[in-house]
Assembly symmetry: C2
Homo-oligomer: 299 residues x 2
């Protein structure tokens, strides 16, 4: 039976470290500030933003949420970002995705000052991540995955890491991170996706498998090398009439069977999920330190 | 015996296409311009720059080379780039690498306006490449490799591409390009490097192998799947007293033996090499079109 990687516990450890750093800043009269822009009334987006606000308050980061209607124009949104870019008191800017279809997401993300881009979605930050330049911002989920690996002693160096899913938010950045010449990197990295032939043969070669596909329980035990470390990024709702809500959450990995042969595995929920907001908090702290001319830590 | 991929011939074809485009622009009174900054007197850099100047002249691109001594300061170099950034007549800016050790290469490369960055080394362009956003500039060698594959009918979709070498100039960008959702992409991509264990097992799974390591003839026939397509990016000098110069050029692949089992292979010289300057010319044309508000073509 695999070690169940406790994302909540590791997340709490890291929040404690962030809090210590925040306390030191506080003594110098410095309070980091995060500004969130929330467009429209997508219920999931509202839930995520509330979670982020709550996490900021709890740890001691000042935050504000600017709520704008679905009908906001692209140029109005750009104007808001420019305002926040110009405010010295704002360390981090986050535009909650997805945006309405009349707004070009790339244009919006590129408008945020790279040094305030705590989501790490600006091309400059993606480019620095790709190039192995460590002063940029790493998107939250990839950074969280690397922490889960490192803090459970699963160093990627020299290992075969197979990533299923090539999204810009998880798959590609986490693979690029694991390619870095660094103690958290130096892995041999394979990117698989919907066009991959004979996926099973490739996933079976993985010492570390990262599933970020968004297909419920797609990764079965036949696809896993015994003893592999399995990181499940998926959060999928499947109908379950036995639950009050009528559904339950499952990952991209068939947990019950894969956990019997993996050496370590993240559960869903309680694995990667809890890390995400923690990494956003850390990026906000890092942005504040950057603004002071001090570098925040990365791993 | 493998098909020998004739980089010179394919390069000539593409230069013909570029020339046609340049001729159309010429009729509208438009002449693209490339500015090259050459620091110090590294003999190899001087050779490369002369080749670039010559290629520009031949095809009909205006160019200038700004030569500065090894002792130039970083701020002087930044000042030169700012000048070129500001000149509307300058479409492309290229700083020949390597730079002297007292200059921070990343700071210099980040100073070039992304829209004039015809080498594609600015983090914004690297980030767009990583994110699959197609309007940025692709570095020359990776773009050339993709053209060699496409123009010999070796479409990467669904194939296992193994890249040996994780440099920011070749290995990483070519792999990211081959991951794009595009007719030249959709490959399953594995990045190997010096920390990879059991390299042979991985290279043997490659339908397309890209060697960009810089170690003479490191890839031997035992590492190749019969019928694979082999792209050799290496250009290494090895001593050869039978030659007038005292050396000959070899790639990273043991050509004589690998060419017997591969289905197609690039020679060294005459494979990837001739494509590189051609792709620089194409990027300069693209930069000029961008400045006119027209998009240049990418594959």
């Amino acid at each position: 039976m695999a070690l169940i990687i406790d994302g909540k516990k590791i997340s709490d450890e890291i929040r404690k470290e962030i809090k210590d750093d925040l306390d030191s800043l506080r003594k110098r009269g410095i309070l980091p500030h995060l500004s969130v822009i929330l467009v429209g009334d997508n219920p999931a987006s509202h839930v995520y933003v509330r979670m982020k606000e709550k996490a900021c308050t709890e740890i001691g980061i000042s935050s504000e949420t600017l709520r704008v209607p679905e009908t906001v124009s692209q140029s109005e949104l750009i104007g808001m970002i420019d305002d926040l870019n110009g405010k010295q008191s704002v360390n981090g800017i986050l535009v909650q995705l997805p945006l309405p279809s009349h707004i070009n997401e790339n244009i919006i993300l590129e408008r945020i000052l790279p040094d305030k881009d705590v989501d790490g979605f600006h091309p400059v930050n993606m480019g620095k991540l790709a190039a192995g330049i460590k002063e940029g911002f790493i998107p939250a989920t990839p950074a969280g995955i690397v922490e889960l690996l490192m803090r459970t002693g699963n160093y990627p160096e020299g290992k075969n890491v197979v990533i299923v899913g090539r999204s810009n938010i998880v798959g590609k950045p986490v693979g690029l991170l694991l390619l870095h010449k660094a103690k958290y990197g130096n892995a041999t990295v394979t990117f698989c996706h919907s066009k991959t032939r004979d996926l099973k043969m490739i996933t079976k070669s993985a010492d570390i498998l990262i599933a970020a596909i968004g297909i419920p329980e797609m990764i079965t035990k036949e696809m896993i090398k015994p003893g592999a470390v399995v990181i499940d990024v998926g959060v999928n709702r499947v109908e379950d009439k036995s639950r009050k809500k009528g559904y339950r959450l499952v990952g991209d990995v068939k947990f019950d069977e894969v956990s019997k042969i993996a050496s370590a595995i993240t559960p869903v929920p309680g694995g990667v999920g809890p890390m995400t907001i923690t990494m956003l908090l850390r990026n906000t702290l890092k942005a504040c330190k950057k603004s002071l001319g001090e570098q925040g830590r990365m791993s």
